[in-house]
Symmetry: C2
Subunit: 196 residues, 2 copies
Amino acid sequence: MSKIKATKNNSTTDVICKSAAQLFRTNGFKNSSMRMLAQSLGVEAPSLYNHIGSKSEMLQHICTKVANDFGAHMVSLEEEELTAVAKIEKIIRFHVKMMLKHFDEVYVANHDWRYLDAADLTAFLQQRKAYETAMVQIVKNGIHNKEIANIHPQIVVLTILSALRGLEFWEKYKQHLHTKTLENNIVQLLLKGIKL
Amino acid sequence: MSKIKATKNNSTTDVICKSAAQLFRTNGFKNSSMRMLAQSLGVEAPSLYNHIGSKSEMLQHICTKVANDFGAHMVSLEEEELTAVAKIEKIIRFHVKMMLKHFDEVYVANHDWRYLDAADLTAFLQQRKAYETAMVQIVKNGIHNKEIANIHPQIVVLTILSALRGLEFWEKYKQHLHTKTLENNIVQLLLKGIKL
DNA sequence: CCTACCGATCGGTAGG
DNA sequence: CCTACCGATCGGTAGG
C-alpha cells in the first residue's frame, strides 16, 4: 500500500529524496531527522526504510546527482569551439540555471557534502577538484590568448565560483528581480572583471 | 584549580570559545559535542559549565563578535570622505584581513548562524541586513556619481560579498599564494567588474 | 575540577 | 505500511 505517490517520471525513492533535499536545505543535514522527513511525507519513520537504505544514502544520492550534472556540462563544454570568455559565460549561465531548477539539491551539495561517508566524500571532492581544474585551464588559455587579464587563474576561478555560490541568497529577492536581469548582470560584472 | 590556562589578554572563557570556534569550523556546530570540546581542552565535559553557560551561548558569542567587528568597520567607513569605489576597496581588503585573522570565527558565523537561538538569530540577521543596506547605499552613490556601472546595486553587493565569502576556501592554497597577491588580485577583479 | 547520571532524541531493526 | 523497541549519543545537572 503506497502512501507516498510515485509519478510518471519519479519513483517513490525519487519523491522521498526530493523531500529530503528540501528538508536538508531548510534545517541542515545533521539537524534533520528521519522522523521529520517521515512526517512531511505522511508516514512513520520506519516505513521510509522500505524505499531507501539509510539517511546518508539519500545525501549521497543528492550530492552525486549535482556533481554529475555539473561535470557533464563541463565535459560537453570542453568539446565546443569557443573563446575562453564565451566558455566562462556559458559556465556562469549554467550555474544560474541549475540553481533555479534544482535549488534544494545544489544548496545541499554545497553545504552538507562534508557529512558524506568516507568513500563518497573522496569521490565528491575529486569531482569538484576536476571541475575546478578544467575551469582553471580555460582561464589559462584565455590569458595566453590575451582574452583575459593576467590575474592568477586559481583566484579567478575561486572568485567566480564563490560569487555564483551566492546565488543561493537570491531566492528571497526573486519577487523583486527578474531572473534574466539577474543572470545578465552577474555575467556582465564577472566577465568585465576578468577581461583584458 | 584551573587546567585551562587564561592568558594576559584572554579569560578562561575566551580560551574555551576559541577552541569551540575551531571545533565548530571543522565539524560544524551540530556535529560538535561538548565532550569533543572538553577533550580538546583536556578536561571532562561537565567542567566546561563552570566557565560557559551553554553550547549555544558560545555560538552566540562567536557570531556576535564577528557581526560587531564588521559592523564597526562599516560605521567608521561611513564617516570617511572617500569615493564609492575607494570605499568598496576598503571593504574588500577588510574582509580579507578578517578572514586571515579570525578564520574560525568568521567561518562559523557564515555557516552556523542558523543554529542561533530565536532572539540572537533575529539580532544577527538584522545586523547583516544593515551591513548589506549600507553597502547598497555606497554602490547607489557610486552609480549616481558615474563611478560605477549601472548594474542593479543589490546584485553588485551580493556578488561581491559572495565572492569574499569564498575566501574560506583559500586556506588550502596558502602555501602557493602570497596573501598580498591574493588580496590585490581579488580587488582588481571585483573593482574592474563594477567600474564604469 | 571530577564522577555519576538524567531525560530527550537520534538512526535503524524486528516482526507482522 | 505499522507498532514496539534498541543501543548510542546528546546537552546539561547534582553533588561533592
